[in-house]
């Protein structure tokens, strides 16, 4: 659309109308369910059941939030989820930065083969891994550990993300070589190179990978469901469906609302990351 187009009156009004319509549509469809969830979190159960669209006919019930937090122990599950996300993030970063560094900067002989092997995992749908990975977790080869009910069962497989490695590798290999050469001449070994030069220059990509790693853990359901059986260790995504059958509806919706707070907040803060081109890579992954 150009300014010339806009000069025609019917085009202008149509476009205004369409844009307004789009805004309304997005508000109702995108925001509506979330607003309803927030409203119902503080509406007594009976009102939600009988007149779900009414606005607090009998007043608020803020205690539902408190009940969700304390009696239903959302606080514990939230903490578990955070802890799970942090560990996952750390493992993913360690694997992706070190691996990307070797494959993208150092490039020893054989790195082409290694990169191809990493890319190969992208072509395998995650479902193929489900059962054998589960068996591996039940009995890790060589060391015969049982990682069930252990957060490492979630952290370690999360690190095997080819997308992360490739993103890092691509970013690192695009860094200007002269800096490396200069550091080399000064006698820096790979460790120094990594720590003092590559990492500081990689803040943007590390930021992107980090945010998506945390969100991915928040959304993960099937895997933690399979490997974390102990109630006290389960994250929110696993716990919420289980507790639905034995939790009062109003309290349950409050729990749902509380569980969404952190992802929504992260999104609002880091909007640029999600909504720009770099977010495309993450969106493809997530």
């Amino acid at each position: 659309m150009s300014t010339a187009d806009y000069r025609q009156r019917n085009v202008r009004w149509t476009m205004h109308g369409l844009k307004l319509g789009t805004l309304l549509f997005l508000l109702i469809v995108g925001l509506g369910p979330l607003l309803w969830m927030a409203k119902s979190a503080i509406t007594p159960t009976q009102d939600t059941l009988r007149t779900p669209m009414a606005l607090w006919p009998n007043g608020f019930d803020l205690s539902q939030l408190a009940t969700a937090w304390t009696r239903v122990h959302i606080d514990r599950y939230l903490f578990n989820t955070i802890w799970l996300a942090l560990g996952s993030w750390a493992v993913q970063l360690v694997v992706a930065t070190t691996g990307g560094f070797v494959l993208g900067v150092l490039r020893p002989p054989g790195s082409r083969v290694l990169t191809a092997l990493v890319i190969a995992t992208l072509f395998v749908p995650p479902i193929v891994l489900l059962v054998p990975l589960y068996l591996t977790i039940v009995d890790v080869p060589l060391v015969h550990w049982r990682l069930i009910d252990n957060y490492w069962a979630v952290w370690l497989p999360a690190g095997a993300s080819a997308l992360n490695v490739l993103l890092m590798q691509r970013f690192f290999s695009n860094l200007p070589r002269e800096i490396f050469e200069a550091a080399r001449v000064d006698g820096a070994g790979p460790a120094r190179l990594f720590w003092s030069i590559v990492l500081p220059m990689s803040r943007p990509i590390i930021g992107v990978v980090s945010v998506f790693a945390v969100i991915a853990t928040w959304k993960d359901y099937l895997w933690p469901f399979l490997v974390i059986r102990n109630q006290n260790l389960q994250p929110l995504s696993v716990r919420l469906p289980i507790m639905e059958a034995t939790t009062d509806l109003g309290v349950f919706i409050a729990a749902l609302a509380l569980s969404s707070l952190i992802p929504i907040t992260l999104f609002l803060i880091f909007q640029r990351l999600f909504l720009t081109g770099e977010g495309v890579g993450g969106a493809l992954k997530g």
């Binding site: 550990w145 490997v227 059986r229 507790m243 059958a245 034995t246």
Partner: protein, 480 residues
């Protein structure tokens, strides 16, 4: 290239170093299960080990799956109190309760992962299967040492025994199917809650009345997580049909497409689509059905006779609403589907833990049925924490023992027994029928979609669905 071969030892060294570091970092994980160092032994332990002199007991810790998820704090407290009493009696044993609930989909994942507690419960249907797979411990000698092994009802005990009669799992509870109904809804609909339906035609009429007068589902039936097949089997037995036939040669034939089952499905279809008395939700499982009933959304349904406790503990049931009567039986060969629970011991346990496990099973599950002290102590712990006492059950020993145990706790009974008399007064006259013997849970799973189809698709072809399900189950039975 020379550089590559020279690097090889470095590779090995580096890997070894890193692996060792990871081992050190991760090695501190403890699970509440016993370490898997002890080799599971399928051989019967010697009697001497079971009756070691009381003075020589190593401290031992066992995990028990006795806490249903989502249970109220009071119910948990009752359990903790009983654990304290147990630990006082057996000071060398420490008991750790774990959240545990048997459902078909979750049990197998726990089994595969080895995360089951040391003592866990399974339904009658799975006893023999787990025994055949050597996944529960042979506790025959230990149980017989307790002295009451031969007083068990033989049919009931058989669920936990292997071919040779060795006991692998102890029956802890038996139930019969019932028709559970909401007394308040009955009153609201103008029906007499003290005269619940006694024939299936009456059930159908009552359902229609309730639906018309109160707007909720008059009759509902479970349909997911294998409970659909379970209740369909129950209602089939009530009309005299059977899901499996055992020939004289021991060969098992699947008979899912028997006339009684077809009749049940046709009646459900009529109630659903013609009478419109089954409400609008058709994906109930065991827990959600109880929840809906407690919330007053269901007028009647067929289910176990032991649901009162769960509904009070987990679904805020109003005691006045609870009504229970026997399932209407119609036709020759009709009977009540009987089921129950077994307590078993995980194979991943040491000998000492197994001794402790059997002691726990004896204390927590059996004593209240056979000894006055045990019964009174159990009743006291429950009433102290506002838990139901006196919920009807079926005897796992004999009727005389059961009656006796009820008199012991007479003063503690706090459930509305008057509301339960339509059931308790007639259940012992009804023939009890065991669940289908072969591939029970898979049979139920094959029938779930049939029930769901009848309830959600007006054009469902009952004959075709049953034939397909029958074929599926026969294939499972025939598989070597």
């Amino acid at each position: 290239m020379r550089s590559r071969t020279r690097r090889l030892p470095w590779v090995v060294a580096a890997l070894a170093v890193i692996t060792a570091t990871i081992v050190a970092a991760c090695g501190g994980t403890t699970t509440s299960n016993a370490p898997s160092a002890a080799a599971p032994s399928a051989a019967a332990p010697s009697a001497a080990a079971a009756s070691a002199p009381a003075a020589q007991h190593e401290p031992v810790t066992i995990s028990v799956g006795a806490l249903r998820p989502g249970v109220t704090q009071d119910a948990a407290d009752a359990l903790f109190q009983q654990i304290e009493e147990f630990e006082a009696k057996y000071p060398w044993i420490k008991v750790e309760p774990e959240e545990y609930n048997w459902t078909a989909p979750t049990f197998t994942a726990a089994l595969a992962a080895g995360t089951l507690p040391d003592v866990f419960t399974i339904p009658f249907t799975d006893g023999k299967g787990l025994i055949a797979q050597h996944q529960i411990v042979n506790i025959d000698a230990r149980v017989r040492a307790l002295g009451y092994a031969d007083k068990f009802n033989a049919t009931v005990l058989a669920n936990g025994q292997d071919q040779g009669g060795a006991i692998y799992a102890v029956p802890t509870a038996a139930y019969g199917m019932s028709l559970t109904y909401n007394r308040s809804l009955f009153t609201q609909a103008g029906l007499d809650p003290n005269s619940p339906p006694t024939t299936w035609d009456q059930v159908r009429t009552a359902a229609k009345t309730i639906a018309q007068k109160t707007g909720v589902a008059g009759f509902s039936t479970m349909a997911t997580e294998n409970t659909g097949g379970w209740q369909l089997t129950t209602q089939t037995y009530a009309l005299g049909g059977r899901m499996e036939q055992v020939g004289a040669d021991g060969k098992i034939t699947a008979t899912l497409d028997n006339p009684a089952t077809k009749s049940v499905l046709q009646r459900l279809k009529a109630m659903r689509w013609d009478d419109k008395s089954m409400g609008s939700t058709f994906d109930y499982a065991w827990g959600t059905m109880n929840q809906a009933f407690a919330a007053g959304q269901v007028g009647m349904f067929t289910g176990g006779s032991d649901l009162y406790t769960w509904m009070i503990q987990n679904a805020a049931l109003k005691p006045d609403d609870y009504g229970i009567t026997v399932i209407p039986l119609d036709g020759s060969d009709s009977g009540v589907l009987g089921g129950g629970t077994l307590a078993a011991v995980n194979v991943v346990t040491t000998e000492a833990e197994r001794d402790a496990a059997v002691d726990w099973i004896d204390f927590y599950y059996i004593q209240k049925l056979i000894s006055q002290d045990g019964a009174v102590a159990d009743a006291k712990a429950l009433t102290a924490n506002k838990q139901p006492v006196g919920v009807p059950a079926l005897p796992i020993f004999d009727k005389a023992t059961y009656d006796e145990s009820q008199t012991w706790i007479k003063d503690y009974i706090n459930v509305p027994t008057a509301q339960m008399t339509p059931f308790t007064s007639k259940i012992f006259d009804q023939p009890l029928v065991n669940e289908p013997a072969a591939h029970t849970q898979e049979l139920y799973a094959a029938l779930d979609p049939v029930v769901q189809a009848v309830l959600t698709d007006q054009k469902a072809d009952i004959d075709a669905l049953l034939t397909a399900a029958n074929k599926q189950v026969q294939a499972l039975i025939d598989k070597p």
